[in-house]
Symmetry: C2
Subunit: 587 residues, 2 copies
């Protein structure tokens, strides 16, 4: 190696040793006749010193011309510092430089390579290799590395086998839009990139692999919202001969292991919540249960007193924002505007303060007597000093708006601390959901999810299809869905029935998924699995909102890598070889 030690390694005990260090110049200063250089690498920072009259003037001359981010090699003697720096592990020592060589000079970086940088998003994306030098970004990726190793260690210890499934697969009509790859050797035909290795992992169960996992890239050609990436990574798992309970227990073990290994946090069992309860109590299938503030349905309590908004509403539902009775008019207006935003679309917000002596003062006092308002207080289990927030309207829309309002209040009340983790299993999702625009049912999880045996009969009646529950579950942490899975169908007839419910003709089902239907006839075991969003899981453990800084080379919201300038046009020769043309003139 071109070094004897890293920049994070030297301590008091090394004093007197001759060492060679390499790294990047973090900063230089010339003070009191001494040139100081902070030398940086992945492992830390070491201070170099070149004192006038002590270190050679020739070497000092080289040092004087070092710029930020120059790559240098220094050989010198480890010396005890006069003034120690307790903030860094190498703070007791410095290097008295005998030899200094510039391995590569550096132009002035376009933004500061410091924990707090002055670079904007676009600039940092273009020079991603410089942004990756900053400690916060590199630490995110080191966390990701540690998470990946821990995940594999745990699963390997549980007899899971890591199997690589193919990346060049077949386009399927169900699910999100596929990225496709034209085949040169099979003109006019295309591979697709996998949205998940779903069918392959099921086939591995049919093959008797018993327990499979993979940390694997998946691809979705969707319009990118903030924090979605066209390529993303899943921890993909499948087990044979299991019930839902077995899967929950196994992967609860993984989650606990990760929290212990990475965050040194001990967790008891992860609580479980029915999907129906999550919707009723939190208006959300991924509730943030770091705080309570459950929904209370108020139809019985508030209707019939002549307030038309409540009387005509399908649902009146409220939360108790404890301790917020002192909210000002301005604050309440902010909350009203929050729920009236187009994406939530509430028509208004009714509030009521529980004032001194338990007296309730509401925004609709002219319709409700104090006696009636006391019923609200009781229903919402409110005390003096609490603020009741109530929405009314169509049930689904109102629950969604109140869910957002609840999260907003949790945020305002400091109940959503990034260092507090509240994992939760949400279980027994509906099997199907009706999408109005498409005029048909879609699989809520995916078409391979098994119905609850008790609910099978509900599929026979068009009126009750939507009520059938699935053996499906999500792992939610702090209001973020970090994983989801299901017990799969392993019976050809049930799978064929499911395809039929989803609008596939038998021929279409056979053409697209014939290999899986056939496989089910050759001895398929009961099986199920789960997939975790690895990017998301890392960002959650890293206490960040965005996944982007947990991905080494992310794409922007147009799906572009602005650093390498991709995608880009390809040559006519390439197009011709692939037997395709573009519709775009000049490309």
């Amino acid at each position: 190696m071109l070094r004897t030690h890293t920049n994070g390694e030297l301590r008091q005990e090394h004093v007197g040793q001759t060492v060679t260090l390499v790294g990047w110049v973090q900063r230089t200063r010339d003070k009191g006749g001494i040139l100081w250089i902070d030398l940086r690498d992945r492992y830390g920072i070491t201070q170099l010193a070149l004192e006038e009259g002590v270190e050679s003037e020739e070497v000092r001359e080289i040092a004087r011309h070092l710029g930020r981010e120059f790559v240098v090699s220094v050989t010198g003697t480890v010396a005890e510092r006069y003034s120690k720096n307790a903030h860094i592990p190498t703070g007791d020592i410095e290097i008295r430089v005998g030899k200094l060589e510039v391995l590569n000079p550096a132009k002035l970086p376009p933004f500061l390579i410091e924990d707090d940088t002055d670079g904007g998003d676009e600039l940092r994306m273009k020079y991603r290799y410089l942004d990756l030098r900053r400690n916060p970004v590199r630490n995110n990726l080191m966390l990701r590395h540690k998470m990946a190793q821990a995940v594999r260690r745990y699963l390997d210890g549980q007899e899971f086998i890591e199997v690589e499934t193919p990346v060049l697969i077949k386009s399927t009509p169900e699910g999100a839009r596929d990225f496709v790859v034209p085949s040169r050797m099979n003109p006019g035909e295309f591979y697709a990139l996998p949205q998940s290795p779903q069918t392959f992992k099921q086939l591995l169960m049919v093959s008797g692999f018993d327990r499979y996992f993979q940390i694997v890239k998946c691809f979705r050609d969707e319009d990118l919202r903030a924090d979605r990436q066209p390529e993303f990574t899943q921890i993909d798992c499948e087990m044979a001969f299991v019930t839902q309970e077995d899967i929950l227990n196994t992967f609860e073990g993984l989650v606990r292991y990760l929290f212990k290994e990475i965050k040194n946090l001990d967790f008891p069992t992860v609580p479980r919540m029915e999907y129906a309860d999550a919707m009723r109590w939190y208006g959300n299938d991924k509730p943030d249960v770091r705080f309570d503030m459950k929904f209370v349905e108020l139809n019985e309590v508030v209707k019939g007193q002549g307030f038309p908004v409540f009387d005509s509403a399908e649902l009146v539902v409220g939360i108790n924002a404890a301790t917020c009775a002192a909210y000002t008019r301005k604050q309440l207006d902010e909350l009203t505007n929050f729920v009236k935003r187009p994406q939530l679309g509430a028509t208004g917000l009714v509030y009521a303060r529980v004032e001194a002596g338990g007296v309730v003062k509401s925004s609709v006092d002219k319709f409700y007597s104090q006696e009636e308002l006391q019923k609200w207080k009781t229903a919402l289990n409110a005390n003096e000093g609490d603020l009741l927030l109530i929405l009314a309207g169509p049930a689904d829309k109102t629950r969604k708006a109140l869910s957002e309002l609840r999260l907003e209040m949790g945020q305002r009340l400091g109940l959503r601390d990034k260092d507090t983790f509240a994992p939760l299993w949400v279980v027994n999702f509906p099997l199907l959901e009706y999408i109005e625009e498409e005029g048909r049912y879609f699989a809520m999880h995916h078409p391979f999810t098994s119905p609850k045996p008790d609910d099978l009969h509900l599929l026979d009646n068009p009126e009750t299809i939507g009520q059938a529950r699935a053996n499906a579950y999500d792992l939610v942490i702090n209001g973020v869905e970090v994983g989801g899975g299901s017990i799969r169908i392993h019976d050809r007839a049930v799978q064929a029935r499911m395809f039929s419910l989803l609008g596939f003709s038998p021929e279409e089902a056979q053409a697209q998924f014939g290999f899986l239907l056939d496989a089910f006839e050759y001895g398929a075991p009961p099986h199920g699995g789960i997939a975790f969003g690895f990017d998301r899981l890392c960002s959650l453990f890293g206490g960040a909102d965005s996944i982007r800084d947990f991905i080494a080379f992310p794409k922007n919201n147009s799906g572009r890598d602005v650093m390498i300038d991709s995608p880009s046009p390809i040559s006519q020769v390439q197009l011709k070889e692939l037997s395709i043309k573009t519709d775009v003139v000049g490309k």
Copy 2:
């Protein structure tokens, strides 16, 4: 779990316990009033017994109708066997079945699910999920799993960080043909799938990651020969602040660790050989050094005796096939035909036997006296009983043919045992090679490989360009190249020079690799790395010639996955969204 134990778990000590097992029916037999069933899962085989008059007739009736590969659940009592089977770990016990449930019936498989199957290649590819049930195939993939975990354990222990690099990148003109992915959001533009994460791992070094690795899928749209796959897996590694020696030592450590962990083999250091020596001694840059049989150049020895073939040849070169003097005329004809095959194209084979008393009898005795022939014997260090095999012609072609003949003789002599492993570093490859058909130089490794500093001046002269050596190295095991790498260029000017030598204009170089050239100006450290072919490494450790059975779902020689029937046509809607058309009518 639907089981209490696996089928590989029960022993004498479990006798008397009530257990529930699940698995596949391997075979059934009815003998002496007892129905026997072998129940199989990934972990082993357990024998079930249902005796007439002992186990319930109702359960025996179910058992009587079980077919091969039925998936069943049984509950029963562990009993000691009358006649034990020492060949399997569970051979001391059997299960006396109290309850038997068919979890899923199975159609008769299209081929035998046994270690030796009757299924042909095509059939087994179509029903890959059944082929994967066979022990040899599953064992290959379990070996692969173990190798992957061991690789990560070793590299993690050496401070390497696993970083995922993007799959949707940019098409580049150098190297093999890219697979491309049309971008819907950027019409007329394409991503490419990576042939390797080369530039990204170099950028990670510029970012100060210091040590990077990844087990990663790579893609090449090449015409597929046997044992090439369009998607394949690399162990991809890069280190900063290293010399070639550091890389060789670090990854020699990996190789030794793998041999120890996987095969329990101890290796001393891996020998090193100059590329030039490999070519001179073995006619091959990936010599199989499980056996010696080195080339001996004979120009000085054989020329000038009036044998036109030798006299006119650029190179006369031979090997000593020790102990083969008794080869029959037929065997020698086989060898002659072997070297005369079109792909080798030798014009003939000269041989000489060292007979009793050291007398040499050659196929060209009319040109050579015994005295002359004795010189051959001496040159080739031959003894009584040896056979000398000599080829003559253009140097490169002749060496290549003799290399193949050497391997053939090694095979015939049993010197290429699959359980013997001979790793070797081949070092100091040429930087560039001239490709006649293209009329220009190509990078022998890739365009980012650094020239040997001592050889830099050779690049200044068109006459000597081809002689410049690179800091490039391959790891060869048993004649198979399992890894290769180089110390990279980290200086913008040198990299620009290299692109120029490869025929890029400065504008083309900037358009394609501007991000890398730019990165080199912001403080790039010296760095280098290596990539191992993981599929190949697994097959080598597994003692197999083909990589295909170490890949869960391989493609055939036309790049097709015949199981899922991919690639396939996509819809007009998809094509339109992607702004492309196919040239193929009807697709």
